[in-house]
Every structure is written in C-alpha cells, then in structure tokens.
Symmetry: C2
C-alpha cells in the first residue's frame, strides 16, 4: 500500500488530503471516502486502519481529507488541545453548531477532492463508496445526497432530534437513495437513541440496514468495523486482485 499526501487547491483555501493506493496496478478500482469524526483528522487511526484493509484486501483506493476546522485546518487557538479539550472549550452545543455551519464547505471540499485524487492513480476510480460515522455522517449525508458518484455508504453514531425533521440535514437524509449500512450505539451518550432511530427512519433509501449494539459512542464493536468493510466490498464489487489471489 502507498500513502500519498496531496493538497486540493480551492479558492476558499487549501484542503489537505491523503490517498492510500494498493500496490497492485489495476485498470479500474473502487474508491472509498472515509469521513473522520469530530476533533479527529484525515490520518486518525480509525481512518488509516480502514484504508489499509481496503487496499490490502479488495484492492480499493481510499481518500481522506481534513474537514473544516480539523487536522491541519484547526484554528490557531485550538492547536495542541485534545479532542475533549477542544469540545469543552467551545461547549458541546457551540461545537456542533460550528460543524453544522461548515456543512456546505465540507461537501464542496469532498467533491473537489474526488476530482483531484484521480490525477494520482493510474487506475480509473469507480464506483465510489463513503464511510463515516458521527461527524462523518453529519457531512456524509449531505455529500451523498449531492454527489451521484457515491453509490453506497456507511453512516451512523449521529441523529436527528424530533424537532429537527424539517432541517436541511433531514431533507438530505430523505434524498439518500443508495444502499446504506447504518450503525447505532444503543447507549450513545452523545446522540440520544431516539434521534439515531429517527435518522435511520428518515433515510430515503429502501436498501438500508441498521446494526445496533449496546455501549457508548466510542464503543463500536470490532465486528461492526469488519461489517463496514464487508458491506463496502459487497456493494462496490471487485477492485484489483486481493493479496490471497495475486
């Protein structure tokens, strides 16, 4: 697997990005976008681990970017703080509002990054999958609603409050028409269970499956991470040869 950092140049500012490519040459391979969580970044362990499995297993390319106010785009006065310190400094509500206000920017950054990444790989990219929970779902649902190249997605660990079902985010959820694997933590302390169930209910696609497990926000079982990879592989199809057959 090769890791290639690159920069997406946009009028609104540079977007630091990284693409992981399988060693094997291929004419065409699926591309998976991994949306990092709140206060994380494009090379967080969760992202890098998924990228490594996708490259070494089905032979997919994986793309991640630093989302607005995250990673290399972290505001000066928040640099060096831990995720918890950053959230506590702003307060959870203000933290969420700032992320929500960056949705259009995040979607545009992602779309530009999909355009740009093709230059770095000799293989044609297609189809495109998306996997991102928590903040990865906050941005991923509007992205998947807007971007027809995305043909399958993993979402979860997020929610819509009962009073928020007329929001732009809820409208995007209703527009989702691709296959979705949806992950819910039954005892999520950040997003109430009811809000997570409401979001699953709103997703417009008929091809959706929810996997719910006991435990808090950060306790997603390892089996579900394997399940994400299996889902993407099932829905995106063959890439290059897998290590076992090459």
């Amino acid at each position: 697997m090769k890791k290639v950092p690159f920069t997406v140049q946009r009028d609104s500012g540079d977007v630091p990005a990284v693409v992981w490519l399988p060693e094997q040459a291929a004419e065409r391979r699926p591309l998976v976008l991994i949306g990092h969580g709140g206060a994380m970044h494009k090379e967080a362990p969760f992202v890098a681990r998924l990228a490594s499995w996708l490259a070494d297993g089905p032979g997919y390319a994986t793309l991640a970017i630093d989302l607005p106010v995250h990673g290399e785009r972290t505001p000066e006065d928040e640099k060096g703080l831990s995720p918890l310190e950053r959230r506590n400094r702003l307060g959870v509500e203000a933290w969420r509002e700032r992320n929500a206000s960056n949705t259009d920017q995040a979607v545009a950054d992602w779309r530009a990054a999909i355009d740009a990444v093709q230059e770095l790989d000799s293989a044609v990219h297609g189809p495109v999958g998306y996997a991102g929970v928590s903040m990865g779902t906050r941005f991923g649902i509007p992205l998947a609603a807007a971007e027809p190249r995305i043909t399958a997605a993993v979402f979860g660990l997020f929610g819509i409050a009962a009073g928020d079902t007329e929001s732009a985010f809820a409208a995007a959820a209703r527009q989702i028409s691709i296959p979705v694997l949806y992950l819910l933590q039954w005892d999520d302390e950040l997003f109430p269970r009811e809000d997570g169930l409401t979001l699953f209910d709103l997703l417009g696609t008929r091809d959706k499956t929810m996997h719910a497990n006991p435990g808090g926000h950060l306790r997603l079982p390892r089996a579900e991470i394997d399940g994400m990879l299996e889902f993407l592989r099932d829905r995106l199809g063959g890439g290059g040869a897998s290590p076992g057959t090459s």
Copy 2:
C-alpha cells in the same frame, strides 16, 4: 443429510419431532433448535432450508418440533385451514393469547426433545443454539432463559408492549445472558416497531446485536437469513468437516 422423524413421548402427549443430521460422522457436533413461526410446523420450508444449510455447511444437527396446537398437534376443527384462515377464525388477539398460554408446555416440550434427540445421533451434541423469530421468539426466550444448554440464540419479529414490561415473558427476556442476534422488521405490521425495540432493550445480555431492515413481518431479507447462519456458526464453533473440506 439425513432427515429422521421421531416422537418425544411425554405424559402431556406425544410431541412430533424431526432431526436433520449431516452425513459425516463426528464425535461431537453443535445442535441447533429451530422454532417455527405461528401457524407453521416443524418442516415448514424456512425450517427445512436452515436445517439443510446447517448440515451441509458447518455440519450441525438441527432439531424441530411441532409446537402446541401446530403441525400434527393442530386442533381437529382447524385442520386443513391456511395460516391466515386459522388466525382469522380465532381473531389475532385470541390467537396470540392461546399461544402465550402454551408457553410452559412449549418450553417443557423443547427440553424433552433436546434430551430425546441425543439417542438418534452417534455424535455428542453440544453446544446448543436456538433460532426462531415471531412465535419462535415467543417460546424461544422463555426456553433460553430456562435451559442452560442453549448458548447462543437468534430472536426477533416479536415485541413487548410498553405496558407489558412486568410480564413473565419480559422477566425471561431480562434473564437472557447468552449472545443474541436480534432481527427487527422496521415496518412490521404484526408487531409495532416500538414493541420490537423494547424487547431488544430488555434482553439482559450485553452481547446482543440488532439488525433492522425496512419491510413487513414476512419480508426478512435473504441476507439476514445468511446472517443467522453466520452468527450460529461464529458462536457455536466447529462441527463436522464442511463439504468443501471433506
């Protein structure tokens, strides 16, 4: 695969049973109990198909019985009627009440059948798994709560009304401490979504996963049936050799 019909003789009346055994000899193999659904019987297509996969795949034995007032135990005046006709004749509420009133009988019949089936197989049976949705869960949860030989179970397509959380059935749900795969149909017309979520919530085990899919009671996706088999195989472990390796 060999299909062996047999009868469990009990003071309360004979219990017609059938066991499916792999062709391969083994010293020891897991046993799976399949609890049939309402108005179905021990050799309903769903039961027979699971039995066939379990025998030919991981090499498990499978046991099914005609539950009270079902199959060969159907009351004379209901014989020859379709499942829907039977339910409509009694009315859904009376139908459910009659099944609920047969819970102790069903549990005792199952336990006697587990004892009896061992006589028919040269292999020792263990561990024991259970799979049954809808009425298969009505009887399966009290059975699994009472029967320590059962070490993993698939439940679902059932529920507990908010006002019923102090019932004997709810108490049994709280006693479940084994790994559970729980299936929920998001648009189940027979068991309201909320009741299905309540039952999942009440299950006492921490090792539980819910898979929820759009569609009505009878629309369980094929992928979830595969998932049941995968779950049982993961949790019960090796039986005889699989056909691919023998």
